[in-house]
């Protein structure tokens, strides 16, 4: 690929001459190589797909990313290489789309309905037989009760729902946000504040991370 400077990229992508098409196609090819590489080598969840499917996926993600890139050229402040800036947009498009597909059937209903939101120890990977320290099992159960109390007493309803999805179900913030009619930043903040409350609650009970990791490790 010919070495364009940041200024070359910007002026070519904003021009109305043939250099626009050249730059756009060069950027497209560049991003497709990178996104293909990521999908092929770093996504074990896609490993069963043939190369041609992965290539098609990369092309689709990059097409969506290029629209965003062209729309936001004026926000590029020149503090990185242009191609790094464009690639971060492609990365976010690809991951957002993969998350959307992965969680398309996920619902928060089981967390908002009356009833138990705390998973039991077994679904958190802790069983008396599987534990390296079976003699600690009673204490592990006690900790889970404490965590349950923290969820019930320290959090608002919205925080409880969001944090349960985030912590226990491992759902990404943007997917929780979509289901709670808010945006990723606001949801992240809601979750972050809730995490701090849980942390302080647990610390007030005399618990530390080191202790808990040794108990459950």
């Amino acid at each position: 690929m010919s070495e364009r400077t940041n200024q070359d990229w910007l002026s070519d992508l904003q021009s109305e001459s043939a250099s626009y098409v050249d730059a756009l196609e060069a950027l497209r090819a560049h991003l497709e190589r990178g996104v293909f590489y990521y999908l092929r080598h770093d996504r074990s969840d896609l490993s069963q797909l043939p190369d041609e499917d992965i290539r098609q996926m990369a092309q689709d993600f990059v097409q969506d990313a290029l629209i965003k890139i062209l729309d936001s050229l004026e926000t590029f402040r020149g503090e990185s290489k242009f191609t790094t800036w464009a690639s971060k947009i492609a990365a976010r498009v690809a991951i957002s789309e993969l998350r959307r597909v992965r969680y398309k059937d996920y619902s928060l209903e089981h967390l908002t309905a009356e009833g138990e939101i705390m998973p039991d120890l077994a679904s958190l990977g802790v069983t008396p037989e599987g534990s390296p320290h079976p003699e600690n099992y009673a204490e592990q159960q006690e900790i889970l009760h404490m965590l349950k109390d923290a969820f019930e007493n320290a959090l608002t309803d919205r925080q409880r729902t969001a944090l349960s999805a985030y912590i226990f179900d491992g759902v990404p913030v943007e997917e929780i946000a979509r289901r709670m009619d808010t945006n990723r930043n606001a949801l992240y903040k809601l979750v972050h504040d809730g995490r701090l409350k849980l942390k302080h609650y647990m610390e007030d009970q005399g618990l530390s991370l080191e202790y808990l990791l040794s108990l459950f490790g």
Partner: protein, 78 residues
């Protein structure tokens, strides 16, 4: 999620944190500094701290590193 991940998520939370959008705004600069052999945590400590607390941004950060690696690999060979 495993219980050890649950407690790590809770206890690794720090008081100050930026938003995901603020992290995204600087992540290209952050990655370029790493590639240039510099330590971005001195200039952009809040990005480093956010990446340690936000698994979603951390995943996007790792994807960006991988994408850039894929772009370079092939550019060199042809």
């Amino acid at each position: 999620m495993k219980i050890t991940d649950v407690v790590k998520t809770i206890f690794n939370t720090k008081t100050d944190d930026i938003t995901c959008d603020e992290c995204f705004e600087h992540i290209d600069e952050y990655v370029d500094m790493i590639h240039a052999g510099q330590d971005p945590s001195e200039v952009l400590p809040q990005v480093k701290s956010h990446l340690e607390q936000c698994r979603c941004c951390e995943m996007e950060f790792r994807a960006l590193i991988s994408i850039l690696e894929g772009e370079i690999d092939h550019a060199d060979s042809g």
